[in-house]
């Protein structure tokens, strides 16, 4: 069925995508919240910055990551010096690339949900003794769960499919950064590699299908009975 080499690729891809999505979730939510609720100078700029990885070709994003997070880059040098973390050529680098590419999708979905929260309910929670933070945790956060889930699914599938930024920033190292899309690409580069490509593509699709089903189930479970029917 699935060869050992394919298993290794699947595991790597899942690791990269999961770390990317879980690591980005809180950041994306915070950004979504800021953009939805706060007016501040530079808000539009931040919005544009968040969308940047969508607009700029992935290869350019990878190139920018290389400049910023590379060992000689301003942030990369600090990461290396103070935390001993190197990203380039590491699976962590692939996760960072995937996270950056997934960010705009996650922020948008979450923001849509945050915008839709009925503030009267938050006000009600406050009168019942909830601090801003507690009301956020118990009212806003659960009410925006559909947006969080949608964002997570979008981000996860986008991460699973991320290619250009990853190969540019983290290279295509078997076992370290050769995720499913990179393996697929590699297969496409040789004439007659279509067979292997098809297998890997089907695996990708099944993984995302599984992610979709899980998320649908979670959403259904968590919103069951909550909405009015007639």
């Amino acid at each position: 069925m699935i060869t050992a080499a394919e298993w290794a690729i699947i595991q790597l891809s899942l690791k990269v995508s999961l770390v990317a999505v879980l690591g980005t979730l809180p950041v994306a939510y915070a950004l979504a919240w800021l953009l939805a609720r706060r007016q501040f100078p530079g808000r539009s700029l931040l919005d544009a910055l968040v969308h940047l990885p969508l607009v700029v070709p992935p290869v350019v994003t990878g190139w920018l990551l290389l400049i910023l997070l590379g060992r000689r880059g301003p942030i990369g040098a600090m990461l290396e010096e103070y935390l001993g973390v190197t990203l380039v050529f590491q699976w962590t680098g692939a996760a960072v690339a995937a996270a950056v590419m997934a960010l705009p999708l996650m922020v948008r979905a979450m923001r849509l949900s945050i915008d839709a929260v009925d503030r009267r309910l938050v006000a009600a929670a406050r009168t019942l003794g909830a601090s801003r933070w507690y009301a956020f945790r118990t009212i806003t956060l659960p009410l925006t769960l559909p947006g969080i889930m949608a964002g997570a699914v979008l981000g996860f599938t986008r991460s699973l499919g991320e290619f250009g930024a990853t190969i540019t920033f983290a290279a295509n190292i078997p076992g370290e950064t050769r995720t499913l899309p990179l393996a697929i690409y590699t297969g496409l580069q040789v004439p007659g590699g279509e067979g292997a490509v098809t297998r890997l593509a089907i695996i990708s699709i099944l993984l995302s299908l599984a992610a979709l089903l899980v998320s649908e189930w979670l959403i259904r479970r968590s919103t069951n009975g909550r909405s009015h029917v007639v």
Binding site: R120, L121, A123, A124, A125, R126, T127, L128, G129, A130, S131, Y134, T138, I139, P142, L143, T223, G225, R226, S227, H228, V229
Partner: protein, 209 residues
Amino acid sequence: MSFEIVLNHTVGDCRLSVDFASQVPRIAVTGPSGVGKTTLLNCIAGLITPETGKIVIGGRVLFDSTERISIRVEQRGAGYVFQDARLFNHLRVAANLAYGERLRQAGHSGVDRERIIETLGIGSLLDRWPASLSGGEIRRVAIARAVFAHPRFLLLDEPLSSLDQERAAEILTMIEHLGTAIGIPMIYVSHQPEETARLTDTILQLAPR
């Protein structure tokens, strides 16, 4: 002094101007629709900041524009039954009731949880989602949620609308008991003179201007 409510506030075309003080434990607020009753309660709860004014309830200064005092919403200790109920749709009835109960150990705690649930007739609803409740059931759950939140005072915005008279009478008795026995100050908005008459003689009549 139980109530001292002095305030000026404008929303849209509605200019709300109140200057009222009283020692009684309970007051009623009446006035035609759109006069500013709900706005007044929102000011007292701290959801709206009045342009100027002073709000003292049960001897506690909640707001004073000249002294620049404005207690935070969650510290005011209101038990607010909203005109539009505002149940948390993502929590079952039991969790709605527990929401404020868990948060404030401070305020009054002499409420007899079981008896209130029985009087309100919501015992069988605890496991239900708010979206499946009838209009009157929503109202009753909203009353319980406010009362269970260890309130320092109650703000009741037409709490008995859409309840049948028998049940309404029982609930009124219960509310009265909260006022007398436990001594929670109370502001009661209603259009039903019979209701207000049972609770208090002191009526703050708002008039359009």
